[in-house]
């Protein structure tokens, strides 16, 4: 039952100071103002990326920056053990991998499925982007019961 001597005195020096917390909070406020401001401006597109996409990339980029500040500093992950860091990394990277399924939705051809109103109609959008080439879908047939 011999206990190992204190091997971890360093851990106690790793607490984040209130000054760092406050600076993080201020940074979050600035990013918050930036994202609201950016949403009122129509950013220009470039190359093959549309202006709308640029706006979306900026909004999500700022959200990711804010989330990183919260994860690394508020949640103190930068001072956590490697095992904890691995859990964080695995969790968020699996989340992004899930979006690969959009490749299926983006490339699958239109497959009509019977809806509640017995009109040939996609129960789910099986296509992304324009629907001009699809048969004209009557209103109120997106798997919604007809109104009385």
């Amino acid at each position: 039952m011999a206990k190992t001597p204190v091997q971890s005195a360093h851990a106690h020096g790793e607490h984040t100071s209130p000054v760092t917390y406050f600076a993080t909070f201020l940074a979050l406020c600035v990013l918050m103002a930036l994202t609201v401001g950016a949403s009122f401006i129509q950013l220009p597109g470039f190359w093959f990326i549309s202006g709308t996409a640029v706006n979306n990339i900026v909004a999500i980029g700022i959200a990711i920056a804010k989330a990183l500040l919260v994860i690394l500093i508020f949640m103190n992950v930068r001072h956590s053990s490697n095992l904890a860091k691995l859990y964080v990394l695995a969790g968020f990277s699996t989340f992004t991998l899930m979006f690969i399924i959009l490749a299926d939705y983006g490339t699958r051809r239109y497959e009509p499925a019977p809806s509640w109103s017995n009109v040939a109609d996609p129960a789910l959008p099986r296509t992304i982007g324009t629907t001009d080439h699809l048969p004209n879908v009557p209103i109120n047939s997106l798997n919604v019961r007809p109104r009385q």
Partner: protein, 228 residues
């Protein structure tokens, strides 16, 4: 046993017998909490995926329908949650330096922020309910309220809006309960919280996660760019 006692006294934490040292014990707690948070990421992740798919499919109609949301209320709620996250981080700091009074003060402030968030959300929901914007057979048919968006696609937008912000609101309510329980333990001088700051830190991790979810919900629902 004397060795164990010395060990414990040195760290000032309540070391449980199955752990080698306080480091390992704390690490186990943190990893356990993060494995729960990873399941939460997956839980919300499916909804974010669904949102992405439908917004991509109906980008124009989602933009039109989103114009009915109140950006001022959404921004206020974002500021409230960011502030509550800061006060939660400070609570963990005060738990580390064992300042009971300030732990209770910062946790109370966090709970007040959580309630303020829910009240504002409640006003927003009430507005939507008044306009019959909840999905279902009684869904709004007034083109002006939908800002000329296709009714079915607007209905999808509101289904996602209520589903995602609703699930987030449930997490805020759970957060209030958990922080309340933590405050109760602090007020009672329970050794499990006063001797070991990691209990407070784990509640903090949960609360920060709730904040992160909102950090993404806010631009996705309130700040959609006009398709151009």
């Amino acid at each position: 046993m004397a060795a164990v006692d010395t060990h414990e006294a040195h760290h000032g934490g309540a070391l449980h017998h199955q752990f080698e040292d306080i480091e390992q014990q704390n690490d186990t707690y943190i990893v356990g909490m993060w494995s729960f948070l990873v399941t939460e990421v997956m839980f919300f992740g499916a909804l974010f995926l669904m949102y992405t798919l439908y917004r991509w499919s109906y980008i124009e109609d989602f933009y039109l329908a989103h114009e009915h949301l109140n950006v001022v209320m959404g921004s206020t709620n974002t500021m409230i949650l960011l502030t509550s996250s800061f006060s939660m981080a400070m609570a963990v700091h005060f738990a580390q330096v064992k300042n009971k009074k300030l732990v209770l003060a910062t946790l109370s402030f966090t709970v007040v922020c959580a309630f303020a968030f829910l009240v504002i959300k409640g006003f927003e929901y009430a507005e939507k309910f008044k306009d019959h914007l909840y999905p279902g057979v009684g869904f709004n048919t007034n083109a002006d309220t939908l800002h000329q968006a296709n009714m079915n696609h607007a209905q999808l937008f509101y289904a996602l809006y209520f589903g995602m912000t609703g699930l987030h609101a449930v997490h805020v309510i759970v957060g209030i309960i958990v922080i309340g329980a933590l405050m109760f333990l602090w007020a009672r001088n329970a050794r499990s919280v006063t001797e070991d700051y990691v209990s407070t830190e784990m509640v903090g991790l949960y609360w920060h996660f709730v904040d992160i979810v909102w950090i993404f919900l806010f631009p996705l629902f309130y700040l959609m760019p006009k398709p151009h």
